[in-house]
């Protein structure tokens, strides 16, 4: 009888994330891909500062903690020393698109054979809901209490679109996990990202539009609705670049 159960690459630790936080779904998808490809023993994950800072307790592969923003550099160090292993990073908005922009862009343009999972929830979750580079115009956060004003705080950054301009990028795809159909698409994208890595064909980034019910001040289900009605129009889903770079 077919079963649905926790993948082996996910430990059975109780997840500390808020109820309804989509981190848990994405963690499971990464773990499922690792299981299906049979690469748990050959994978090293890099998790940095952010709500997922303790992801090293949730994945059963070897894990390294990284400082804020630097996961792509840490991943580069691991991968260059161990080119036949699988290396993935799991990063939030502030980590990837604020303090870590340089490392993100350069790992991408080098065509580093790594897989980057980018959790875009338009906010800094761990520290209590401050503005992120991905915060939408008009969005109220702890540091934009009157709503993000583009004349003061500028405009959100669209990472997939930006990185798709770089020759080293094999995959830049934006997905979401708001319903089972999109969860399936997200998992396929993550799988593609690992396959490009397996074939040493360049840098992959899967941007996952996610919710942060607590800092958005919503129930988990309301948060899914906000994602659908406000985030997807600004951050369209889809493939922005796909193809082996070497």
């Amino acid at each position: 009888m077919p079963e649905f159960k926790r993948p082996h690459a996910l430990t059975d630790a109780y997840l500390h994330y808020c109820p309804g936080c989509t981190h848990g779904i994405v963690h499971r998808l990464v773990a499922e891909v690792i299981d299906e490809m049979g690469i748990e023993g050959d994978t090293i994950g890099v998790c940095p500062v952010g709500c997922s800072v303790m992801a090293y307790d949730y994945f059963r592969c070897d894990m390294m903690e990284a400082s804020h923003g630097r996961s792509p550099a840490v991943a580069t160090g691991i991968k260059r020393a161990n080119p036949d292993k699988f290396v993935f990073t799991y990063q939030g908005d502030g980590d990837l698109a604020a303090i870590g922009t340089a490392e993100t862009v350069h790992a991408a343009t080098r065509g580093e054979n790594i897989t980057v999972i980018f959790i875009n929830n338009t906010t800094y979750g761990m520290t209590g809901g401050q503005m992120a580079p991905t915060t939408l115009p008009g969005q109220v956060t702890q540091t934009t209490p009157y709503g993000r004003d583009t004349s003061v705080e500028g405009f959100p950054v669209k990472i997939c679109e930006m990185l798709s301009q770089l020759d080293g990028v094999a995959l830049a795809q934006r997905v979401t996990v708001i319903d089972p159909k999109n969860i399936r698409i997200a998992k396929e994208a993550i799988r593609k990202g690992f396959e490009f890595q397996k074939n040493k064909q360049g840098f992959s980034i899967i941007e996952v539009l996610s919710t942060c019910p607590t800092n958005w001040g919503m129930t988990p289900v309301q948060a899914l609705d906000r994602l659908r009605s406000e985030m997807i129009p600004y951050y369209p889903l889809g493939v922005f670049k796909e193809g082996a770079v070497r």
Binding site: F4, Y17, G24
Partner: protein, 71 residues
């Protein structure tokens, strides 16, 4: 026969599974709090469960296991 089970103390009562169920047979029970203080999800009509596992797919906590039915 398909069956969906929720691990009682792992569920956070977030309600995402409720939105995913095509048969609308998952709900948050209001009778008993788990040890973390949440009201948890439960299947309210086991017989109607088709084992699609969409609820389990939506669950951020891997709290749902599904036996039987089509994949």
């Amino acid at each position: 026969m398909a069956k969906m089970t929720v691990e009682f103390d792992r569920c956070k009562g977030c309600g995402l599974c409720v939105t995913a169920c095509p048969k609308k047979i998952v709900a948050i029970q209001q009778e008993k709090l788990n040890k973390k203080g949440y009201y948890t999800a439960a299947c309210i009509d086991d017989d109607a469960c088709i084992g699609c596992a969409l609820c389990a797919m939506m669950c951020p906590d891997c709290a749902i296991t599904v036996l039987g039915g089509e994949k």
